[in-house]
Every structure is written in structure tokens, then in C-alpha cells.
Symmetry: D2
């Protein structure tokens, strides 16, 4: 997931969130709104997974290669735990 | 969670997503971006929970009282399963 | 999901957890153990979804029909929120 | 999380799952059973997080130090994605 891909996904998510606001405004059926909310949340999770991916492949890998991976590994594991909703 | 509260939360989430785009643009540190992504995803989940709450208290309850709850119950359980990420 | 189905699933999960203990004992590769842990956790989530399903279709529905659904609805929504990992 | 700690946790989870079977047998209240199911699922997730932790600190780190981290990194990211319920 490169920078352009990330930006495209985030712009689409921003549009989804605006669409949800419109649905609330127009008193759309709550289950239909919920479906859109879940879809935007899943899209955000995918962006998060893409960021984690790039982080491991670059920052963490380089730090370990330079013999200073400990801090990056701690940080990564904390991020994975948070990402997983704790 | 009333309509105004929902709109306020959604507007805040929209702002968060725009903020994340700015962070990506400015090449901010990926773990910091990830923290914001997680925060926006959690805020969306809270909106989803609020919608589910209103749905059960109103639509599902009324349908059951009118003796036609079956369809609403099916729909609710499907929404809970999706909400839970399956 | 009836009582027998629930018991079968729970017995299978118990067996999975015992299998994971054996894998740990035998120093199996951690990613393979993690795969089994995820599989057991997903099976437990499916049992939870089955319980929630039966609860809504019976307890919650009956309470609402008898005009005393408020407490059951509160309890249900709390359970859904917890089920969803908050 | 060392081997003994992992085994202790897994034995406790096995006991929890057996306790849930007893609750089902004795027709305990479904919300109470669900609470135990959620608790066992959370305990399994914690074991999974412990395994992931050990994996990154040892296997992944060593592979990268030996210049052959690519495969381990792929595997790790796939495990994190699955762990996160996709």
C-alpha cells in the first residue's frame, strides 16, 4: 500500500462517512446505516493493516538490521495489541 | 444516541479521517498514523453500537409488540454478526 | 443451535485447547500454534453468537410480549457490546 | 510468556470450557453462559498475543539478523491479519 493508494482509500472513507451523515439526516433505516458504518470501519481496518505492513517491512526490519530493533519491536507489539481492540 | 449526537460524532470522525490524510501527506510516523486510524475505527464502532441500541429499543420492540417480530429479529441477529466482524 | 449442538461444539473446543497444550509441550512452531488458537477462539465466538441468537428469539421476545422487555433489552445490548470486545 | 505460563493459561481455558459445558447441561441463564464464553475467548486471544510476542522477539528478529527475514515477515503479517479476525 503506497502513499497514493493510502490517500485514495482515506478519501473514499471520508466520502463514506459523509454519506452516512446524509443517511442519518434523511432518517434512513437504521440497519442500512449500520451496514455503511460497518463497511467504513472495515475499510479503516484495512488501512491500518496496510500501515502495519509497511511499518514491519521497513522501520522494524531496518532497526533490527542495525542492531537496535528492541524498541521498534515493543512498539510494534503494542500497536498489534491495540489494533486488535484491546 | 439521538440524531444530533450521531451527527456530531460522524462530523468528528470525518475530521479525524481528514486529519489522517494530512498525516500521510506529511509522511508522519506510521505508528502515530495507525493510532489515529484505530481511534477513528473505534469511534465508528461506537456509532454502530448506538444505532444498534436505538434499533432494538424502537423497531425491534415495536414489531414484537405488534406480533410481527420474526423478520426484525432475523435482521437484528444478522446485523450483530456483521457488526462483530463476520 | 440446540443444547446437543452447543455441547458438541464445546466438546470440540475443549479438544482443540488440549491439542494446543500438546503443541506447546512438543515445541511446535509458534505460527502453527497461533493458527489453532485463532481457530478455537473463532469456534467460541460462534458458540457465543448461537447463545445470543437463542436469547433474542426466546427470552427477549417473550419479555417484550409480556410488556416487560426493558430489562432484557438493556441486558442484551450490554451483552452485544461485550461480545464485540469492549 | 514462557512455556509454563502458556500451559497454565491453556489449562485454565480448558477448565473454563468444561465449566461452560456444565452450565449448558444445567440450563443456566444464557447471558451468564455468554459471559463465560466471552471470558474464555478473551483468554485465548491473550495466549495468541503472547505467542505473537515471542515469535516477533525470537524467530522474526533472528531471521532478519541473518538476512532472511522476508518469509518470516510475510508469515507474521498474515498471522496478524488472521489474528485480527479476517
Amino acid at each position: 500500500m503506497n502513499k497514493k493508494d493510502l490517500q485514495d482509500r482515506l478519501r473514499r472513507i471520508e466520502g463514506q462517512v459523509r454519506g452516512i451523515q446524509r443517511m442519518v439526516d434523511e432518517d434512513k433505516y437504521c440497519i442500512d446505516i449500520l451496514t455503511q458504518v460497518n463497511s467504513a470501519a472495515a475499510a479503516l481496518k484495512a488501512v491500518g493493516m496496510g500501515l502495519l505492513d509497511g511499518h514491519v517491512r521497513h522501520c522494524v526490519k531496518e532497526s533490527i538490521e542495525q542492531g537496535s530493533g528492541e524498541e521498534k519491536i515493543e512498539e510494534l507489539l503494542a500497536a498489534v495489541a491495540r489494533f486488535n481492540g484491546r
